[in-house]
Symmetry: C2
């Protein structure tokens, strides 16, 4: 009963997931598929999602109050939009056992780190940002393999460093690749790798839609390039707000690069266009 | 032996494919998987591709001279870059049986239609543009299901209209959806649906690369948004050249839309960003 956990055994025996959308629902599904699954309690503000998670057999409990869901958790994972994550953190800490690790999957880590520090929780919080997701929303779009092969950035202060190995082990047990990073470096990086591609997809979709083009006229290339344009505006709002100046700068760089290509085409300078394409080909296929 | 062909029987009993890269190789593979496959001869300028197609069992012959490959074809499909397609068309017509239908899979149709007209071949040419492909090149990247579910634009002049049903039947037998279109309308459309997304992907990859970001730091969203950045510069060169002013105009629209998003973020106008996202979400998920 008290033997050392095997490498395949998850490091937490009780997990609470607050939020059962794509991210939280997929976490519950992935945990349920482990050889030795932990006991998972889930909560969603949407009764239908709680019911769906219960019916899918991926949570053992889905109480209507989130403080009931976290009451016996060894780790609580907030899987909510950024603002809700920051707002809930202190209350969740109070309702969960005092020793419970607190985590989250929000796409920016600086604001959550600040919320944890403000609530005196820096010794309990190990944030995570799995670099995966879906343009769709809700438990219905969750899937057990969402995290398989995914890079997962993790963020923790010095005071919580002893909790990091268990959180990494949790993600590794799901087939993900956790990598520790500082919150500021993380947020600067994802403004480029995540927020910028999102808005470029929206911009391209806007141009195509305004040209009278319909999605059934797209091939796989344009479908991929506009997939993110179907993403939830609500989830992105807070993410954009926190890094707006930096994201605007990234957008201006992109606009400049696109303008440059327009000029090259107008000047019939296809050699330089070819050089740009060769450079991106080498970068994308290292 | 001379009974009417069944609906599942392909309309051509002998097919020649000139070019065994992703498009031609995939066509050979798809034809080979039919219940009642036609006899397929293939040709590539690359001896290794001819050998690979033979070894894969998807062509019955792969002679070293293309005129040998087309000698007994009921339909010749040129699966070459745009310029080679235009350059080869007249010679192919001479080497193929006089009744053979001539087709191609180039991504622009106006230049091929002009080449067909100039060679007096308007009564034999039915062009096609399957809206599918790969950012990779060569027979090694070909696959039997490339055309399954794909929209295939077809272009033919009045003089070749009697040949269109058989060409459509050929594509339908491979699970594709052929749709007839005028060459000018087609080329205007794909400048937006195909060429513009290609260069936007290159521009985004350039910005990310110049920020010191590596592809292993990307999630699935950014990976999708930069997949096309690995495409072949050689194949795109002629395509860009033919529609350069129009493509430049599309790029400027895109740059304008991206600039607009930058301004909205700088002005903290997240409501309008949300409206743009809601509009593209509705468009992309109709």
């Amino acid at each position: 009963m008290s033997s050392a956990p095997s490498p395949t055994e998850p490091p937490f025996r009780t997990v609470a997931i607050v939020g059962l959308g794509v991210m939280g629902g997929s976490l519950a599904r992935a945990l349920a598929e482990l050889d030795s699954p932990p006991t998972v309690a889930g909560w969603s503000p949407i009764p239908e999602e709680r019911e769906a998670a219960l019916q899918a057999g991926v949570v053992s409990r889905a109480p209507s109050e989130w403080n009931d869901a976290v009451a016996d958790a060894e780790i609580v994972v907030l899987a909510a939009p950024l603002r809700a994550t920051c707002d809930l953190l202190a209350d969740v800490a109070t309702s969960a056992p005092p020793a419970a690790t607190l985590s989250d999957v929000a796409s920016l880590k600086g604001p959550v780190a600040s919320a944890a520090a403000a609530a005196g929780l820096s010794d309990r919080w190990v944030g995570a940002h799995p670099m995966t997701g879906s343009e769709q929303s809700g438990f219905g779009a969750s899937r057990a393999d969402l995290y398989r092969g995914a890079l997962v950035w993790t963020v923790a202060g010095e005071a919580a460093s002893a909790r990091v190995p268990a959180v990494h082990a949790l993600w590794r047990s799901l087939g993900a690749a956790p990598v520790a990073i500082e919150p500021e470096a993380h947020d600067r990086l994802v403004a480029k790798t995540s927020h910028l591609p999102q808005l470029v997809s929206n911009a391209l979709a806007t141009v195509l839609a305004e040209s009278g083009i319909t999605p059934d006229q797209l091939g796989p290339g344009a479908r991929d390039m506009t997939r993110l344009a179907a993403s939830s505006p609500e989830i992105w709002r807070d993410l954009f707000a926190h890094r707006a100046p930096e994201l605007a700068e990234g957008l201006r760089s992109l606009a400049g690069e696109v303008e440059r290509l327009a000029i090259l085409l107008e000047e019939d300078d296809l050699d330089t266009v070819g050089e740009i394409m060769r450079a991106t080909r080498a970068w994308r296929r290292p």
